[in-house]
Point group: C2
Chain length 353, copies 2
DNA sequence: GTTAGCACTCGATTGATTCGAGTGCTAACG
DNA sequence: CGTTAGCACTCGAATCAATCGAGTGCTAAC
């Protein structure tokens, strides 16, 4: 063991111990629990060095030390690939997630529920972005006068509907014709719909029908895009209140308020989806989270997929001191399971169509 | 002023003072603030009586007194009709609620948002029960094979949809015929749909169409009923964390968890809707709430209506020490406004149809 | 019946003291 | 020269006594 190696063994021992106890760790604790065979005095010297290097923080002079965010980052980078299964965690997840779901959203929610139950941290999930699913069909329903309802059905049978007004009062027949025309061109497409898609063929329609299409297409695209931002679901909101770092009500309040800001959470999960590079589990620590109420939190995320294509993100959020090892395994297993479920129940369907 | 009257003047002064300060109220405070022109010694005697009567509680021997739930109850019963407008509260609500909403749900949510903002308490709203709105139309959409999607559109253009499987694979034409048949009979009805509605006329349909109807009607009724239980929305969840009685994290946790139990909240609001007797604002104090995490809370509710018929409930929830006067006015005004909005934007529509 | 006066209660605040976990430094050791 | 035993020192936490003061209840006088 190199001398430098020993220094970091001490650091990792402190990280693990602090994750467990939430109490500052002293040199004697490491002497006893670290199993490193060196005296507390030597450890003290190393700890002093680690503090100078920015890995440890001393809350006050006569206390032990706690890891800095830099320390968690190093710990995670070092060990993320070697975090291993404990207590049949993966098995437990598979057991609880054994039955099937007709609705995609339901499957995703259940995943959040299980994650929270298993880890005791707050779980976040982003629902599949409708725009990435492929539109199966658009329907128009005449409500009355110029008010219509349009319904978008995806390949996975997720349904989204919204009301709008046209510039005139169409007949049901006109709406049907327009819908049929649209459906012919957009079937299964995941691209935004543009008038250019239709080419000259649009000339075959009557003017009222053309008008319907011209007016609804932007609204449909708006819905498809708006959807990306708003579909986040959180489970186990109050778990955070069990941890000592959130006993202060004002901190708890900030956390819970942040958890109600759909847009922020959506950004958080979306950015994780983009940065999907190499490692299956993305970890943001403390200030890396870049959200006001969550500066003392960490977020672990992974994407779930359909036929290899990312659909959405699942995540866990807890104090920076959270159990990265357990959570990494849990998130990894859950995202795999969720993807598997979706592929079984939806994947075949797409190949049929 | 009768002698008994004086006793209760003292009680009400204590209630008002405690609502304002959250501190136990002593006899000297009342002497100064009550404006009753009697000495603290006399007040002490009366307070002692009020304690014996169960209206006051002494947290410990050398503290002032705080009102019991019985005291709040008496105070509210006594004054609910004379609670009056302060600081242009009603005006503020009307101002903030001045623009119109296409969607009923949106109007209701906005009402909750304003209630929370104006009162600083958590607002609860129950969405209109779809089953009470009247079904305008049912649509069936063929997804693939035996899987269909049915869409229920109410008179107010609220849309509800769900997926189901039939015992066979219908054609789009069959679905359309079945839907048309159904729509003819159920248009505008608020009653549950039964096969008996259709009488002999069902014989005119082909057997596949009859089958579709027989299989979808129960599913539609299930949706209509299930709906009642799940449509509650809360705004301002964390407001409660501002009040001293919820500085204890474990209490805050219970509260927030209770606020996530849709069924409980639905019951709470539903029971208020039923007990709608005389007074427009229903008030439940402390244990009267009968929900585990909310024993130290009070709930104020009022119903909103369409054409005089109750559609749903809006409510405010806060500590038992909450500002009943302000909240009563706020709830009353908001429910009137909400009803007015709904009647203007939806009411006419129904008369058209 | 009301009230002034007073002794009494008891939680909250203050301050002094102690305790102990933990550090940093120094000197000695292999 | 790295390691370690030893020790003085620091500083928050816990303990305890003293004091404070808001508020009560009782009594006696008005």
């Amino acid at each position: 063991m190199s001398k430098e190696g020993r220094k970091y063994d001490i650091l990792y021992t402190i990280v693990r111990e602090y994750i467990k106890t939430a109490e500052p760790v002293g040199s004697r604790t490491i002497e006893k629990k670290g199993g490193l065979g060196i005296s507390s005095a030597t450890i003290r010297n190393e700890m002093s060095d680690l503090e100078d290097l920015g890995f440890l923080i001393q809350p006050h002079a006569s206390a032990g030390r706690i890891p800095s965010e830099k320390a968690y980052r190093m710990y995670v980078d070092q060990f993320i690939d070697s975090f291993s299964e404990q207590n049949g965690l993966a098995l437990k997840i598979r057991e609880q997630y054994s039955h099937y779901f007709a609705e995609l959203n339901e499957a995703v929610r259940k995943a959040a529920e299980i994650l929270t139950k298993i880890t005791s941290y707050t779980a976040l999930v982003s629902m599949p972005e409708i725009s990435s699913l492929g539109v199966r069909e658009v329907r128009f329903v005449l409500i009355e006068g110029d008010r219509i309802l349009f319904i978008i059905i995806t390949n996975e049978s997720t349904v989204k509907n919204a009301e709008m007004r046209l510039s005139f009062s169409p007949t049901a027949k006109q709406l049907e014709k327009a819908a049929n025309f649209l459906n012919y061109y957009i079937k299964g497409s995941t691209d935004p719909i543009t008038m250019a898609n239709f080419g000259a063929r649009i000339g075959e329609l009557k003017s009222a029908e053309q008008k319907i299409i011209a007016e609804t297409v932007p609204a449909i695209n708006t819905i498809l895009n708006a959807d990306i931002k708003t579909r986040v679901y959180a489970d186990g909101l109050t778990e955070i209140l069990n941890y000592p770092e959130f006993q202060d009500v004002s901190k708890a309040k900030l956390f819970i308020e942040a958890m109600h800001q759909q847009e922020l959470l959506a950004c958080l999960l979306a950015s994780a989806m983009e940065s999907e590079s190499g490692t299956p589990v993305d970890i943001k620590i403390g200030k890396e989270v870049e959200i006001d109420g969550l500066t003392e939190c960490s977020v672990l995320t992974a994407t779930y997929k359909l036929n290899g294509k990312p659909l959405g993100t699942i995540g866990l959020i807890g104090p920076t001191r959270m159990d990265y090892s357990k959570c990494t395994i849990a998130i990894k297993t859950m995202s795999t399971e969720l993807s598997r479920h979706i592929n079984i129940s939806m994947g075949g369907r797409i190949e049929d169509g």
